[in-house]
């Protein structure tokens, strides 16, 4: 007798049931669960029905892990647990890793520090870097032995260039077998990270494991930050301690570091105020240090009292809102008029000429690192201080100043810039057989800032290469940590989806400045070159239920292809297959996919993708089919664009 239930209906029902079971233990609000069940059932069951295979599903263990209570670490403990306990006490906000360095990462995860496992140690280290850049909190990344560790190198270098306080840990064989090449995966780790870290140590004395955790956090939480790298031989991680007496050093953090910050010398503040009094066109460059010192309120007070425009640079944007009348972020034509530049927390210094300021500009540099002041750009005044302390002192000391003509010049430059962007959009919209990057840039900005979403809501990973030349011109930040400046300084092309994991995790957890936007989807912009490195992290985002809208500009080529146009034998180096379906890859990894080939289809696809991400708490990828010839200025004006730093376009420094 033939069943009354069709095979298709049965599979749909079974898929929905399985999905609902996963959602039930996920900690996701009930309406979202229902929507997730509906959405996942629709997508995944249809895959199952057509292929007669089991649907993509998040293992039940994820829900179980979300419901499990963290372990309260107490003696007796292993060396790994002692270290994990120090991480918990220090407020480490997240762990990003792949399997490996087992005893350490398991101990950290067991403390309740949110743990994210991904597909590649490099991507996870990029995730940690990004998490820190938009929260200001410490995160850990981990890899195993030689290969897992060396997979993280690009990310460590990028974090170092971005001055990110990232804690890198890796297992590293055993002290007993040092230099023998016994077994596999041996590597000398510390020499490998030379020049990429603030501090590093191979731990060789198990009894000092807590002391070296203190070394690490003292470095991470003071001065100008950079990565700290600890490598753990098995003797240290596996050591067992019955009580604190078996450790040589076991103190509370108040005993091994201080929250005190250097304050500015009063005479330096007086000199700065005098320079401000005589300046006609002063400007503040707000960078990393303002973010990490949480100095945005002091910055605003100082800028408003002195009527001083503010422009941003650095690895994150948003310390000063772009819609403030004093924001010069989108006013590049005004920058060269500045006659006094206050560089605040510009930890990664440009050289002369890399910032747009003219040859007559005088410089005040505020930085906690005495030894860096005066490097690259000669100073007229150096102030050694925590950025917040200096800005508060300046806000107190500066009289009410007026620079009306200067502010009007900035406003005029902003209008000119916006008009230029609009012109690019009009030209780009005229190319109807593919999606021009100017269309993506403008319509994304319309969606994020001029539609139904609160303009300060969405945190953005600004990545990609060619596409970024357009998108950066339109991206805006209205609160701290709203934009993660992907390519910053180290200029790696591929990390964007790793960055997206970290940013989405930060927003999922509501860490630091992301608290008010907890749970909302994030947006990541990238290119087809970049996504090739990290697209597997769609799986990571899907299984951790991280809602992200990933916009891929797919022009079938590396952005560098133009340089090889006269080299026919070299040109294939720069090219991919045409019309690749990254959206299908995303679907195959549990995400939602959209493929857009006409400019008029981009906005509807963006809205659908955002709805899926918000409703189903999973990533959505929009594959925007462009063409490489859009970088040809003669055939397709305006062609490839450049940049001016600092401000919205900046990413070098």
């Amino acid at each position: 007798m033939k069943s009354k239930v069709s095979r298709r209906a049965f599979l749909r029902k079974a898929g929905a049931g399985a999905t609902a079971a996963v959602a039930a233990g996920s900690g996701v609000p009930a309406p979202a669960q229902a929507a997730a069940a509906q959405g996942q059932a629709g997508t995944r069951a249809s895959v199952a029905a057509s292929a007669a295979v089991a649907p993509i599903a998040i293992p039940r263990e994820f829900a179980a892990a979300a419901a499990a209570a963290p372990a309260a670490l107490a003696f007796p403990m292993t060396g790994a647990q002692v270290f994990a306990r120090a991480c918990k006490e220090e407020g480490v906000a997240a762990l990003f890793c792949c399997p490996g360095n087992y005893s350490v990462v398991h101990a950290i995860a067991s403390t309740g520090i949110p743990a994210y496992g991904g597909r590649h140690e490099g991507s996870m280290a990029h995730a940690a870097d990004a998490f820190i850049r938009i929260t200001g909190e410490i995160a850990v990344c981990s890899g195993t032995e030689g290969p897992g560790f060396t997979d993280m190198i690009c990310a460590i270098a990028a974090a170092n260039a971005a001055r990110t306080p990232m804690l890198v840990v890796a297992s590293n064989m055993s002290i007993n077998q040092e230099d023998t090449e016994a077994g596999i995966q041996l590597a000398y780790q510390q020499p490998t990270t030379e020049g990429m870290k603030k501090y590093g140590k191979r731990l060789i004395n198990p009894r000092r494991v807590h002391e070296y955790a203190a070394y690490a956090f003292r470095q991470l939480r003071s001065g100008v930050p950079k990565p700290v790298h600890l490598d753990f031989p098995s003797e240290v991680a596996a050591a067992r301690f019955k009580d604190a007496a078996e450790l040589e050093f076991y103190f509370d953090k108040t005993k091994y570091r201080t929250e005190a910050r250097p304050h500015p010398a009063p005479k330096d503040i007086a000199t700065a105020v005098e320079m401000l009094r005589t300046a006609q066109r002063p400007i503040i460059v707000s960078s990393n240090g303002v973010f990490y010192a949480k100095a945005w309120d002091a910055l605003k007070r100082f800028a408003e009292k002195g009527q001083i425009p503010v422009v941003e640079s650095g690895a994150m944007k948003g310390q000063f809102p772009d819609d403030h009348p004093l924001s010069a972020n989108a006013a590049p034509a005004a920058l060269s008029s500045a006659d006094l530049v206050l560089l605040v927390g510009q930890h990664c210094m440009p050289t002369v000429g890399e910032f747009a300021f003219g040859p007559d500009a005088r410089y005040i540099r505020i930085d906690p690192s005495h030894e860096d002041i005066g490097r690259n750009i000669p100073i007229d005044l150096g102030i050694v201080s925590c950025e917040r302390a200096a800005l508060e002192a300046l806000a107190d000391a500066v009289p009410r100043l007026t620079h009306d003509a200067w502010v009007a010049e900035v406003a005029a430059a902003r209008r000119t810039f916006e008009a230029q962007n609009l012109e690019y959009y009009k030209v780009g919209s005229g190319y109807t057989d593919a999606v021009h990057p100017a269309v993506i840039a403008k319509e994304l900005a319309d969606f994020l800032y001029r539609g139904t979403l609160p303009k300060e809501q969405t945190t953005v990973v600004s990545g990609g290469y060619g596409i970024a030349r357009y998108v950066r011109r339109e991206l805006r930040a209205f609160r701290p940590g709203q934009i993660m400046n992907g390519a910053y300084q180290y200029g790696a092309i591929g990390p964007d989806l790793g960055y997206a994991v970290g940013v989405a995790a930060a927003v999922q957890l509501g860490t630091g400045p992301q608290a008010a936007y907890k749970g909302h989807p994030i947006v990541c912009t990238t290119g087809d070159a970049g996504i090739g490195y990290t697209i597997m992290e769609i799986d990571t985002m899907a299984k951790h239920r991280l809602p992200a809208v990933v916009i891929v500009y797919n022009n079938n080529a590396w952005g560098t292809w133009v340089q090889a146009t006269r080299e026919p034998l070299a040109l294939p180096i720069h090219l991919f297959q045409e019309n690749l379906r990254y959206d299908k890859v995303a679907e195959g990894l549990g995400g939602h996919g959209e493929y857009v080939t006409r400019p008029s289809d981009f906005r509807p696809a963006l809205e659908r993708a955002y709805q899926v991400a918000a409703r189903e708490r999973r990533p959505a990828l929009i594959n925007c089919q462009g063409k490489k010839e859009f970088w040809d200025r003669t055939a397709f004006p305006p062609g490839s664009l450049g940049k001016i730093e600092p401000g919205v376009m900046s990413y070098y420094h």
Binding site: S336, P359, D360, A405, R633
Partner: protein
Amino acid sequence: LTAVRRAPAARSRSIAAAGEVSAAFRHYADRGVFRGFHAAPAPRGRLQFTFTWLLGRPMTAVFDPSSATLTFRTLFPALPARSPAAGSIRDEIASRTSRTVPAHKRLDPRRAELAWKVDRSGGSLMITVRGRHGEYAVRYALNLVNDLFLVLHEKYPDYLIEQFGLREE
């Protein structure tokens, strides 16, 4: 007789202008804006200033006291005269006498005069000093050069990549 009487005064003015121009360049070197600054006599009584500034490339300016003109010869090498980049540079220079630019960026025609020329070797910028305004002319020219590079940075990075070794990334 008139010419003879004028000659010493003109010579005096040109010597003064040369001194002002030299001092102005030296000022930027002393402030660390330039690296590797060098001033040296050049043929026909001219003064040549070489220094490293924007994009870390050597830059040369020559001051001719007889015409009171400071020339940044081939400031933009191999720039096609009819290229969009050349047009943008020309427009930027032309705008400097317009009331649309902020007053502090506007050229004071009583103190200096600008000229721009593109030939087969590239684009050259000239500024002629009027009266005792050598310092003004140097300052104006250097600020303008900075702005012209910004035009190229924003819209024509490919030119800077090819001619100045700007990083492709």
